[in-house]
Every structure is written in C-alpha cells, then in structure tokens.
C-alpha cells in the first residue's frame, strides 16, 4: 500500500532523513519509535507533503505511484491523514465548518457527491460519540481553548469522519494523562480496519500497550535501524535507545572493517 524507498529529506538545508525504507501493507499498523531528533516528525510531515520538507533522493509510493508531486490537499484526497502532535487552534473557524469543508473537498476531489448539511450533521454526531468528543466542541472554533486531551480527541474525531486509508499518528500520546490516553487509543482502535493502514509514531512504549502494532521499527539518525514485532517495543523500553544506538554503531564499524 505504502512504500518508502531510500528517502532522503532536507529541512532548512539540513539532512534529516538519510535513506529511510519502509513498507506498510493494507490494514497493517506500524509503530515507529525513536528518540528526539531522530526524524520522526519529519517523516510524518513529508508524508503529508508539508512545504519546506524537501525530498532530495528516494521516493514515496502509494499503491505503486509516487506522491511526491502531489500537493498537501491532493494527498488528503488520496486518503492520507496526519494526526498532528500539536493540533493548531484556528479562532474564527468552527470545527464543524472546517470538517464539512474538508469532507466535501475530499469527496469532490474523488468525484463523489457532497453530503447535505443534515446528512453531514448526522455523520459528525455519530462519529463524535465514538471518540467521546463533547458535542459542544463541534460548534466551537477549531481547537481554540481545547485542553490537550480534547485536541487529540478532535484529531481522532476528524480521522473518524474523513476515513483515511493511511493514518499517521504523530506522538498522539504526548501531553495526555492515562485516562485521556485510553480514550484516544480506544478511538483509534475502533478505526482499525483491514482497509486502513496506520503509522503510529511515538517516543514511548506506553501508547503501544493500548494501540498494539503489527510491526515496530526503530528510527535512529534518519534511518530505520531495526524492525520487529510488538516485543521490540518492550525491549526498547527496558534497554532504552542507547542500547540500539550502540548495536547500530558496532554494526556499522564492523561493516566498515570488512
């Protein structure tokens, strides 16, 4: 479904991703773990197509086709959704207005009919209930005055309404207490489906107790250095990133000496 090949990305002239490879199959949940500065957020932004994240080498393929030339909104129309680590507050734009515009735009781009206001309201209310989002937040300005937990819940709510094929969750656990983490994770789990792939980016293992991944990858210095199943996350939790770092360093020097 998604294939990332030898991806090199520069931000402000600095190389952040240095040959990242990743393949995500249909319906799979992949966790990407890594310390601060390893390139986790860069990966999420470059997948979404944010300006300023320059691909200097490699490719990103969705169903075998490169998406590098696609604008941010085109990628959304193709079913890519990024739940942000820090959702943006937009005073003056209501949450519903925002989401209806998004929903309508995506359907329009796909050549589908837009929902009527009443149909959309029904959909929004049903989805809000699944992520336990307070209905009063629907009418408020986007993320304006929302608590940390409400913002993250709002991201998952948007995901529920837009029904992406590939959801990227960037540090969805950051800033959440354990109760909020549970609610958000349950929301995500309800959205797991054989038709929907997910990339869950996190620094800590604790999120993966709630959203159990099919695969775990370790991102270090712009590349994926280890991959495994969910047990890799537990291992990392016990040993820390330093353990992997030393192994990787040893591996590299070993190769060099051959």
């Amino acid at each position: 479904m998604l294939r990332i090949e030898n991806l090199h990305v520069e931000v402000d002239g600095k190389t952040i991703l240095k040959g990242l490879d990743l393949e995500v199959g249909k319906g799979e949940v992949h966790a990407i773990m890594g310390p601060n500065g390893s390139g986790k957020s860069t990966l999420s932004y470059v997948l979404a197509g944010r300006e300023g994240y320059v691909v200097t080498k490699g490719d990103i393929l969705l169903d075998g086709e490169s998406i590098l030339e696609d604008e941010v909104e085109d990628r959304a129309a193709k079913g890519i959704f990024l739940a942000l680590q820090y959702p943006v507050a937009i005073p003056g734009v209501s949450n519903l207005q925002f989401l209806r515009s998004a929903h309508g735009s995506i359907r329009k781009a796909r050549g589908e009919k837009e929902l009527t206001a009443a149909e959309f309201m029904k959909l929004a209310r049903a989805k809000a209930a699944t992520v336990e989002l307070d209905k009063t937040l629907l009418k408020r300005a986007v993320n304006h005055g929302f608590s940390g937990g409400e913002k993250k819940r709002n991201e998952i709510f948007q995901m529920a309404v837009l029904e992406p094929r590939l959801a990227i969750l960037d540090e969805t656990d950051s800033g959440l207490d354990i109760d909020a983490l549970k609610v958000v994770s349950q929301g995500v789990n309800k959205l797991r489906s054989p038709e929907r792939s997910m990339i869950v980016i996190t620094h800590y293992q604790r999120l993966l107790d709630h959203i159990v991944p099919d695969f775990v990858h370790v991102l270090l210095d712009g590349r994926i250095v280890r991959s495994g199943d969910k047990n890799l996350a537990l291992e990392l939790e016990a040993e820390g990133y330093d353990g992997v770092r030393q192994e990787t360093a040893a591996g590299q020097s070993g190769q060099a000496s051959v």
């Binding site: 990024l82 005073p91 003056g92 734009v93 207005q97 989401l99 209806r100 998004a102």
Partner: protein, 382 residues
C-alpha cells in the same frame, strides 16, 4: 486648475464663505501630514463636472428625512477642512435624517456614484433625538467618478446609533464622517471598504458625554490598483467616556492601505477609557501598509491601550487545513474570513450581513456557502 476652479464665484453665505476662505490655501498635497500616503493628485488634478447627489432612502416608522436648503447644525459637527470644506462650499441641499422614536428605527441611504469625469458633494445630517434609537445604513453605490461626502451625526442625550457604512467596489471616494455625542449616548460604527481606486474616510468622533460610548470598527481589503485610507480621530472631551476602535485589513497583490487612528484624552476627561487596535494580514509582499495608531493622554485617570499588527497567514494553520483536504485557496479564504469576523459579526442588519458575506466571497476572502452552512448547521442543531 482643477477642483478649486469653482471658488472663482465667492460664496456670500457665512458658512460657505468661511469654508471657501479655508480653501484659499488649497487642497492638501503630498506634504500635508494627513495625506502623506494617499495620492491626492489623482483627485484634484482632473477638471470635473459637478452633479447633484442622488440618494435613495428606505425609511421605517420613527424616522423622518427631508432635503433642506440649510440647517443650523450643518458645519458645526464636521470641521470644514480640505475636502469637507469643498463640500461645505459646493453642496446644494442637505439631507436631514431625524430619529424621533424610542423604538429602534432603521434608515438605509443609498448614495449614487457621480459618473465618469464628474464630482458630487452629498451633505447628510443625522440627528438622533433624546433617548431615540437608530440603525443607520449608509451605502455607497459602485460606479465611476468622485464622491465627496460629508456626513454629520448628532446624538442627543441617551440616544443610541448603530451605523454601518459600506464602500464596496467604489472608484474614488472621499468622505468625512463627524459624530457628536452627548450624555449617555452610544454610537457604534462599522465601515467596510473592499477595494476602490481611492477610498478615503475621515471619521471623527467628539465624545462630550459624560457616559458616552463609541465603538468604531472597520474592515478593509485591497489588491492590485486599490487604495483605501481610514483616518479615525476620537476626541475624549468630557469625563467618563469610553471608546473602542478595532480595524482589520487584508492586503493582497499590489494594493495599499493606510490606517491612522488617533485618540486624544483631554485634561477635562478623567475616568476615560480608550482602546485602539489595528490588525493587518499581508497576503502579498508587494502590498503596502501604513499604520499609525496613536494616543495622546492629558490626564492621569485614564485606562488606555493601543497596538497595530501586520503579519502573513499562519503557515501552520494553512497546512493544517490543507492536510484535511481543503484546497489552498479555500483554506486561505477560511483564514481571512476568520480574521475579519471580529468586525463582521457585529453587523446587526441581516441584509447588510448577507451582502457583506457575498462581497467577501467575490473577493476571495471567504468560502462560498459558508453562511448557508452555518445557518443549516445551527438549524440542524436546533
């Protein structure tokens, strides 16, 4: 030669003669401080044919309107300076609008354009009598030529006036709007200037009070070949008066805008409260903005604040909207709409709000269907 040729026939009536004398030194030039950033040459150089103003009125109960040759208050509210003086010399009749009822009355004035190569000098006097309420809509019709209007508004004790002034797609417009507030009066104005080859408004509020409140708001948008200039002057003359000034502008293309907001709190105005803010969104690096909010405070018992901002659209917000599938131009329109909303939301006349929303959509500042969506969403919620 030009606009002042008409002064060759010296007027004899004292008011007009005085104004004519004030004009002997000529109309403002680039060197006149208040006209530094607005090219007055374009207004004065051309010879123009004077035509009588054309004003359509819609009145409700509680308001009267009549054209008179003269009125004792004319010229006492607005100072006869520069273009206002020219209006004082050259206007024909005065349209006197008088609110006489305690129930809120509405009056809509539609002032026609002058026409190509022409100039017109409408003169309007609005009087809200004691404890009367008035909703005033002053709407300038698009079209060629120069409109040089003076509007004087008097609020007698306890009067309330809600005033919306529309400059939508004008050519050349120079306006003086002078407001005189007595005890416990409330005046709220919103001025919308969307486009225009050259639109200039001098809004001057004299707060006598005590207990008078003035809220002066405005929104403007310019793009290629457009220039709007708002000069707002609030004079806290008596004690315990309050003023709030909020102007927001969106500048695009090679458009230019001027905002000059001045508030003076006099020595006889203790207990005053005075706030000003001017926010600007610059969508292009070729647009030009001159903003100058200033306060002059001459006593110690005052609460005051002022500030001006100018910035680009928030790139994080733009990315966020687009990442949800909203096309770039729609996302941009959502953000400019949100920015202007602070002023737009205060419009109390539904038809005017509808018209403004349409103008916003036409100018790419708002997304089409936003209002319908809002209405249907609130409808569905109810």
């Amino acid at each position: 030669m030009g606009l002042l040729d008409v002064l060759a026939d010296a007027p004899t009536e004292p008011l007009r003669a005085q104004a004519a004398a004030a004009l002997q030194s000529g109309l403002p030039t680039k060197k006149t401080e208040a006209w530094r950033f607005t090219s007055v040459r374009h207004l004065v150089d051309a010879a123009r044919v004077e035509v009588a103003p054309h004003i359509d009125l819609t009145l409700r109960d509680g308001v009267t309107a009549e054209w008179v040759d003269a009125h004792e208050l004319v010229g006492t509210i607005a100072e006869s300076l520069h273009f206002a003086a020219l209006n004082t010399v050259r206007h024909e009749k005065v349209l006197v609008v008088r609110a006489t009822g305690a129930d809120r009355a509405t009056v809509t004035l539609r002032i026609g354009a002058a026409g190509e190569g022409r100039i017109t000098h409408p003169r309007i006097l609005v009087i809200a009598e004691k404890h009367c309420e008035l909703t005033l809509v002053e709407r300038y019709e698009p079209g060629a030529g120069l409109v040089n209007v003076v509007t004087e508004v008097v609020l007698e004790d306890g009067a309330i006036v809600d005033h919306t002034r529309l400059h939508l797609g004008l050519d050349q417009h120079v306006g003086t709007l002078a407001v005189h507030q007595k005890r416990d009066t409330s005046y709220g104005s919103r001025v919308f200037s969307f486009g225009g080859a050259l639109v200039r408004l001098d809004l001057r509020v004299a707060l006598h009070g005590p207990g008078a409140q003035a809220t002066t708001e405005g929104a403007y948008h310019v793009t290629d070949g457009e220039h709007v200039d708002h000069h707002v002057f609030i004079d806290h003359i008596g004690p315990k008066n309050t003023s709030h000034q909020v102007y927001r502008g969106v500048l695009d293309g090679k458009g230019s805008a001027v905002f000059d907001g001045q508030s003076i709190v006099g020595k006889d105005a203790p207990g005053s409260e005075c706030h000003q803010s001017n926010g600007n969104l610059l969508l292009s690096d070729r647009a030009t903005l001159h903003t100058k909010p200033h306060l002059e405070i001459n006593n110690d018992d005052v609460v005051a604040s002022h500030g001006a901002t100018a910035g680009a659209l928030d790139p994080d917000a733009l990315f966020y909207l687009r990442s949800r599938g909203i096309p770039h131009d729609t996302a941009r329109a959502m953000l400019t709409d949100a920015f202007l909303r602070a002023v737009l939301d205060d419009v109390q006349v539904p038809e005017v709000l509808t018209e403004l929303r349409r103008a916003l959509v036409d100018r790419g500042l708002s997304m089409s269907g936003a209002s319908e969506l809002e209405d249907s969403v609130s409808g569905a919620e109810a």
